[in-house]
């Protein structure tokens, strides 16, 4: 309670304005942190001096002179150094001298006693878990509907202010609808509410809206801001990506009120949960919303690291309200987060692969199961039907038990990809191509084999989760076409003029796609037509394959020469190897490529009696493709698999298995300057005392192997390396002081225009304290008590008296509280970008209420897409009702965002956004007046008005006004509108051609059942109404 009172005082002071004189926090701390602490702070203590605490400053550095002598600027070394004219002594040594006003402030501050509030950041309010406060006593108890009101009213009463009267019922239903489902109510819904005399009419309305499937769209969109959702990869190429299944997941998660703790865990680590469902894997798309640079010539590692940085930043913003990114280059200047802690956090996210995950409907999944069953039944039937078959199979098994030949994998000495493809060497000596993915590519790999009598080379094409569809190729379905393999001997790794071609005699492959035999890869023609490809159909993708190339004669590589392989891919469409490895043999003759897939080979290694029926059948499944007697069976099964259903592939995360990374601190945040290694861990300041106590007894700060210490939430000592799942569980641990507060603050922000903490992205020591600290803590604890149910909290907030107030700004409130910090009225603000669109479409009746699915393409002005680099992406306007779907489904291209949403401050999705700005610009006015979408809405609304609005212009005016604002116009409003319509009618009376052009979306086929002069006049009137401040505003 003491703390709460303190914050109240601080908040009042903040409201009262700035204090006179030099203030440490305002005037002194910024100078020290920006100009001194780099050399005299937590990271470095030049000359033994620290200037980040009063005690250290009083003590001084190696010189023995105190940096600070309270009351005596002239004796304070700090003051002397910043004012001296002696160049050798002047501080700061680099950059400009301090400005006169900074020096004056320092002087005044030291003279006044150098008050340095002992701001132990551990005592910062946001780092102390919320304690549940009792709702305070208030005088006007009748106003209080629930505890929220008690907190708000107590404050108002202290300030001598009264709450505003409740808003009228029309305003309330429009406010509630816009807030809960993002759509305005229909006139019928308004009428029903107005006519409902029951005392619980309002509460039932709330329940109806919370149960609406559009609730998930509205609140999901807020979350998508934080999740930086977009439909393209960003940067120069900005290619489309498929991640809308994640958006669907978000919408449905809100609709089913998935408890927020589970919501968090699924998104950060759904893939790591035992028995993870498809949904939980899809949820990890949250982290995959990072950008990805495919520009030619980029270093994949640079942008991989950037993506992790982005993920840390996003988690900091979305869940913790912490500006973690500040600690990427140096320890945080304001909050107690060291650079080391930043990289420990980073380490949680640094060992993932980034696959695309095929999303199937339950029906498709069942269909796949059925097909496999059917195929298995046919296989069993065949085994039964032919008595000789089991013996043939057994003989084949015996012969195939060991892989043919003796192969030595070679480690490449030098490699490069063109154009601008960067290959990375993996620990198994394979090379993997990441980032830039051109249509065609050539790889050149050089070896110093130190081997003689080579008779053949083996090329393995190896799948990897980081390739599209899992590889091994880089095309959309994981295929590649090796147009030509050339083997040469050369004197230098980079000199092509001194090369000798090594002739190849014959090639074999584990699998050849019809029309793309491996022989075509050594036929001497490098064209886009011939080559070796491996696609075996949708049900057998993502498999490793291999090819063996026999040398025309045994080769010994002289010690002064190198062996060079050139792999050319000319087919186009990124039919390029994604990961490959080279081996050699001296066997004579060399064995052909092993046709048995590794998975089958693993089964063959098992004794026959130890295999299950399914395993034995899996062996047969491969065998039958080799047995010409079974051609009919194979054909039947192949025919079956023609119906193999496939789904879209959405971006997800999985735990990295191969080549796990060691996270290191990057000096100055530069990925090219890795320093000491760190293991995953949480920022200390956020850990409960218990965990710290356990930690202080240990010698090591980290358990070898990356385990977290005993006592940290959710962990037992020695339970293996910490994972994203630990991170997720810690974030929603009840002991985490931030998460519940941060989420409640953002919910509050949606309803009241501003959060209780004005900086929802930053709850750190530099942020303004909450306007109502006790209310925030009450909401946070209530949220956890109610099982992290967001719907429960929405219900609570919107049924409060605070929420139901009028938003009218009286002269008194304008003077006393222009920013509504005290909540003596409801908020009034222009709706979000998507809702601007949705309102226009809803008012006109064009809106499609279809939920979920791929993004849509509304009309976009010509030329907009060519503002980005490269050929403008295809933007085929969605057909039918899709064109009129809600704003949140509009395809979001990062480098060229949809202009009508961007202009209304939709975030560009480069980074997570937890607070949209609300601008008010002339370009917005042009958009709602002239954008084809809005004009079409005006035409559609006019048509409805004329058809359904009633027989008189007066009735029509009321109808049209209600469709836009929900309320009836006042007398002056009605008159103004009618006058305008009459003027337009007169204007169009003898201008039929113009009337048709204005009235009809398709002037060649205007509607026949209406007076087009009337529709034209009403189209103009509809434009006025759709552009009203009130139409675009939630009151």
């Amino acid at each position: 309670m003491k703390d709460c009172r303190l914050w109240r005082v601080v908040a009042v002071l903040a409201l009262a304005g700035e204090l006179a004189g030099a203030d440490f926090t305002r005037d002194i701390a910024p100078v020290l942190t920006t100009r001194c602490s780099e050399c005299h702070g937590p990271d470095q203590q030049k000359a033994g001096l620290r200037l980040d605490s009063r005690a250290a400053a009083l003590q001084g550095g190696k010189s023995g002179k105190p940096a600070l002598v309270p009351g005596r600027p002239e004796q304070s070394e700090l003051f002397r150094r910043v004012t001296t004219t002696d160049r050798d002594e002047a501080m700061p040594p680099k950059g400009d001298r301090l400005r006169p006003e900074q020096i004056a402030a320092l002087k005044a501050w030291i003279e006044a006693g150098a008050d340095w509030p002992e701001n132990d950041p551990r005592r910062h309010w946001a780092f102390i878990p919320p304690q549940r406060p009792e709702p305070p006593a208030v005088k006007n108890r009748r106003w209080v509907r629930n505890p929220i009101d008690a907190f708000v009213l107590a404050r108002l009463e202290r300030e001598g202010l009264h709450p505003s009267p409740p808003a009228d019922r029309v305003t309330l239903i429009r406010r509630l609808s816009l807030d809960l489902i993002g759509l305005p109510p229909t006139p019928a819904e308004v009428d029903a509410f107005l006519a409902d005399p029951a005392p619980d009419a309002y509460e039932r309305l709330v329940e109806r809206l919370l149960a609406s499937p559009h609730y998930g769209e509205k609140w999901g969109r807020h979350w998508l801001d934080a999740a930086r959702y977009a439909d393209t990869n960003g940067y120069e190429k900005d290619q489309p990506r498929t991640i809308w299944p994640y958006r669907d997941w978000v919408i449905h998660a809100f609709n089913r009120d998935l408890p927020f703790d589970q919501f968090t865990i699924d998104q950060l680590a759904g893939d790591l949960l035992p028995d993870a469902t498809d949904d939980q894997v899809i949820a990890t798309g949250f982290l995959r919303n990072s950008m990805y640079n495919e520009e030619g010539g980029v270093d994949p590692e640079q942008f991989r690291v950037d993506a992790i940085v982005d993920r840390v930043d996003t988690i900091g913003k979305a869940f913790l309200g912490l500006t973690l990114a500040c600690a990427q280059c140096h320890s945080h200047k304001y909050d107690p987060i060291s650079q080391r802690e930043y990289y420990r956090f980073f380490a949680f996210l640094n060992n993932d692969d980034e696959p695309d995950f095929e999303v199937l409907t339950p029906e498709q999944r069942a269909k796949r199961r059925a097909l496999l069953e059917e195929a298995a039944a046919l296989e069993r039937e065949a085994l039964r039907a032919d008595p000789a078959l089991p013996a043939r199979l057994a003989a084949w098994e015996d012969a195939a038990r060991t892989a043919p030949g003796h192969w030595t994998v070679l480690k490449p000495d030098d490699w490069h990809g063109q154009p601008g493809v960067k290959l990375e060497l993996m620990s198994d000596h394979s090379l993997i191509a990441l980032a830039h993915n051109p249509g065609e590519a050539t790889y050149v790999v050089t070896f110093r084999p130190g081997l003689s009598n080579l008779t053949a080379l083996r090329l393995e094409a190896i799948p990897h989760p980081n390739q599209r569809a899992g590889g091994p190729g880089r095309s959309e379905n994981g295929n590649f076409v090796l147009s030509e393999l050339t083997v040469t001997l050369a004197t230098h790794r980079d000199d092509e003029s001194l090369e000798r071609r090594v002739p190849l005699r014959r090639a074999t492959a584990s699998f050849e796609q019809p029309g793309f035999p491996v022989a075509a890869a050594i036929d001497g023609t490098v064209t886009n037509r011939t080559g070796w490809a491996i696609d075996a159909g949708p049900h057998r993708r993502g498999q490793p394959q291999q090819a063996v190339f026999e040398l025309a004669e045994p080769l010994t590589v002289p010690t002064n020469l190198v062996l060079r392989l050139k792999l050319e891919h000319k087919y186009g469409g990124a039919h390029v190897l994604g990961r490959f490895r080279i081996a050699v043999t001296t066997d004579s003759p060399p064995a052909p490529a092993d046709p048995v897939p590794p998975a089958v080979r693993a089964l063959l290694a098992k004794p026959r009696e130890a295999r299950s029926e399914a395993e034995q059948l899996a062996i047969f499944r491969h065998y039958r493709t080799t047995d010409t007697n079974l051609a009919a069976l194979n054909a039947r099964i192949d025919a079956l698999f023609k119906d193999w259903p496939t789904g879209p592939r959405t971006l997800v995360l999985t735990n990295r298995v191969e080549d796990r990374r060691i996270t290191r601190i990057f000096a100055r945040g530069d990925f090219k300057r890795p320093t000491e290694p760190v293991t995953p861990g949480f920022p200390e300041v956020l850990l409960p005392a218990r965990a710290l106590a356990a930690r202080s007894t240990g010698v090591d700060r980290e358990v070898p192997g990356g385990g977290l210490e005993a006592g940290e939430p959710g962990r037992e000592a020695g339970s293996g390396p910490a994972t994203r799942l630990d991170l997720a569980r810690w974030i929603v641990s009840p002991e985490n002081p931030l998460t519940a507060r941060v989420i409640m603050n953002r919910v509050w922000q949606v309803y009241f225009g501003e959060g209780l903490v004005r900086t929802p992205e930053d709850f750190g020591t530099r942020a303004d304290p909450p306007t109502h600290p006790e209310l925030l803590d009450w909401l946070a604890t209530e949220f956890v008590q109610r099982g992290w149910s967001l719907k429960a909290m929405h219900r609570l907030i919107v049924t409060s008296a605070t929420y139901r107030q009028s938003s009218r700004l009286t002269p008194e409130l304008r003077e006393r509280d222009p920013y509504n910090r005290l909540l003596a009225r409801a908020a009034r603000f222009r709706v979000e970008a998507e809702t601007v669109r949705d309102i226009a479409l809803a008012a006109s009746g064009l809106l499609s209420l279809k939920i979920g699915g791929p993004s849509i393409f509304p009309p976009i002005p010509d030329g907009v897409l060519s503002l980005g680099y490269g050929a403008p992406m295809e933007w085929k306007v969605s057909p039918g009702e899709d064109k009129y779907r809600r704003g949140l489904y509009v395809f979001w291209k990062r480098t060229v965002p949809y202009p009508s949403l961007l202009v209304f401050d939709a975030p560009n999705a480069d980074f997570g956004c937890v607070r949209r700005v609300r601008s008010n610009t002339p370009l917005q006015a042009l958009t709602t007046l002239n954008d084809a979408v809005f004009h079409e809405a005006a035409q559609a609304l006019a048509l409805r008005v004329v058809r359904e609005g009633g027989p008189t212009e007066r009735a029509r005016a009321v109808y049209a006004f209600r469709r836009c604002t929900c309320r009836r116009p006042s007398a002056p409003e009605l008159e103004a509108l009618l006058r305008f319509v009459a003027e337009q009618r007169a204007y169009f009376e003898d201008r039929t051609a113009a009337a048709v052009r204005v009235a009809a979306a398709d002037p060649a086929n205007p509607p026949a059942d209406v007076n087009l002069h009337a529709v034209a006049a009403w189209t103009l009137a509809a434009r006025v109404l759709l552009n009203l401040d009130e139409t675009l505003t939630r009151e």
Binding site: G95, E236, D238, N293, E295, G296, G297, V298, D306, T323, C326, H416, R493, D494, E496, E754, R758, E761, D762, G764, L809, T810, P811, R814, E815, P818, R828, R830, V864, S866, L867, Y869, T895, V896, L902, D905, N908, F911, V917, S919, N920, T921, P922, L923, A925, L926, L929, N930, D931, S970, P972, A976, F980, Y987, A994, L1020, V1024, L1028, E1030, E1035
Partner: protein, 485 residues
């Protein structure tokens, strides 16, 4: 007169405030006229128009900026930084020590030195060295300052362009024009304060983020004036609607919005009415601005521009017209300088020369024209790319085309006008043009210098976001005093 004042005059005439109660009216008036009155560091929306002119930190030299960005990064070694040694060593491998630990975008192995296929000569009284492919620029050698010692941290196009224009290689930071709009506001009330003109086959690699406002209010973002379709998106009225109809529409809209204002008292409504009026004025001013047909033939001859066409020449002429109207920051992009030598279009003897031909005359004409109109003193013109190019031939396909790979360690730009010393060459590189050896100018230094010319201290032009005061120059940047007039 700014739109708010204009609007207030308008509504005063209509005795608006008499109707709506003195207390409220006066308060709204006060807040509109004085943006600082309700200014707040907490992010609460200030009800005032954030584009109103604001005083600089100190007396400025320049009031306007025209930035000619040559997207793709032109080769400094073939334009401004003459290196005879490259021609002597042409075709020889560079020492491996030089490229040890270097990352290249496309070069592989040990590349060979590439001499310039173009000749250099000294021009003007200042004797500036300029390549023969820029004959028009050579004529104004005494008016420009060539900086040969530019450096950057980035060597891929999109990040490097973002770095030049936002101070950060990542997306999401405000661009220079937005910072300047935020710092100084706009003096032009019927055009946006920050305008973007794009020419060439492609847009710049960094996309619209290059003129995005990042975390600054979106009112500061650059507005592209397009050469096809509506010059400003949604500028023209829907079909069948003329300006008189539009006026009536706005009048009715205003009457209704005024009713709402009286009822609820929200000053945002007054701002919205003003923005609709500004939009109305833009509908007249922008087409007038874009109409080059009234420019005299001699001017078209000078620029190489042509009414009704699009391209860099027209954009240079438009830039001058925009500055005449008081627009603060005009950003041009011209694409096609990525001279890798992987095809004829990117060969230093072909496509590169075409780019020079497209840009040389208009860019020089712009400086001459500003000068003859007395505008050069108050307008800072900058010409440059996002990084430099290697002294080595990339020889990607070994097919005989010549070109250079991306190079972050040294490149050249030129500047002219507002606050810049004319007729000097600043900085130097080593004999291969690989590293800067004298007076290095980092991208952040250039940004600090541009702000300085406008009277802004780059360390004081800050915006609080996520608990930190952000700057265009991050935590870096020194004003290059040696090139100031």
């Amino acid at each position: 007169m700014n739109p708010t004042q204009e609007y207030l005059k308008l509504i005063t005439r209509r005795q608006f405030f008499r109707d709506c109660g003195t207390g409220l009216g006066t308060l709204a008036l006060a807040s509109l006229l004085n943006p600082e009155l309700f200014g707040s560091g907490t992010g609460a929306p200030a009800p005032a128009d954030p584009t109103l002119p604001r005083p600089p930190h100190f007396a400025p030299k320049a009031k306007h900026v025209i930035y000619l960005h040559m997207a793709g990064a032109p080769s400094q070694l073939d334009l401004f930084d003459y290196k005879p040694r490259l021609n002597e060593l042409d075709g020889q491998r560079v020492p491996e020590s030089l490229i040890q630990g270097e990352r290249f975008a496309f070069i592989k192995g040990v590349p060979r030195v590439l001499g310039s296929p173009h000749r250099f000569a000294r021009h003007g009284r200042s004797g500036q060295e300029i390549s023969s492919v820029l004959p028009h620029l050579a004529e104004i050698a005494d008016d420009i300052c060539i900086v040969r010692s530019m450096r950057t941290d980035q060597f891929n196009h999109a990040p490097a362009q973002l770095f030049v224009h936002t101070g950060s290689p990542r997306l999401g930071r405000p661009s220079m024009g937005s910072w300047i709009s935020y710092g100084l506001g706009s003096e032009c009330r019927d055009l946006p304060g920050f305008v973007v003109l794009v020419s060439g086959k492609n847009g710049p690699d960094g996309g619209t983020s290059l003129w995005g406002s990042g975390f600054l209010p979106t009112v500061h973002q650059g507005v592209p004036l397009r050469s096809k379709g509506d010059p400003v998106l949604f500028l023209s009225n829907p079909d069948g609607m003329d300006r008189a109809l539009r006026r009536q529409t706005l009048d009715t809209l205003e009457i209704l919005n005024r009713e709402t204002f009286q009822r609820v008292g929200d000053p945002e409504i007054v701002t919205r009415i003003a923005q609709f009026e500004m939009a109305y004025r833009m509908q007249a001013s922008v087409p007038e601005l874009m109409d080059l047909s009234r420019e005299p033939a001699a001017i078209h001859e000078m620029y190489g521009s042509e009414p009704g066409k699009s391209g860099f020449a027209n954009n240079c002429l438009l830039a001058r017209r925009l500055v005449e109207k008081g627009v603060r920051f005009v950003q041009l992009y011209h694409w096609g300088w990525d001279s890798h030598g992987d095809m004829k279009e990117n060969d230093l003897r072909y496509g590169f020369v075409d780019r020079c031909r497209e840009t040389d005359r208009p860019a020089a004409a712009l400086v001459k024209d500003l000068k003859q109109r007395g505008l050069l003193d108050s307008t800072l013109v900058i010409w440059g790319g996002e990084f430099g190019r290697t002294p080595m031939n990339e020889a990607r396909n070994k097919d005989g085309w010549i070109g250079r790979d991306h190079h972050p360690h040294a490149f050249s730009i030129w500047m002219a006008g507002g606050g810049i010393r004319p007729g000097i060459t600043w900085g130097a590189t080593d004999e291969l043009g690989y590293f800067v050896t004298e007076n290095p100018v980092h991208v952040h230094d250039l940004q600090a210098t541009i702000l300085h010319c406008l009277g802004l201290d780059h360390t004081r032009l800050t915006y609080r976001f996520q608990g930190r005061d952000f700057r265009l120059t991050d935590v870096h940047g020194e004003v290059v005093k040696g090139i100031l007039a």
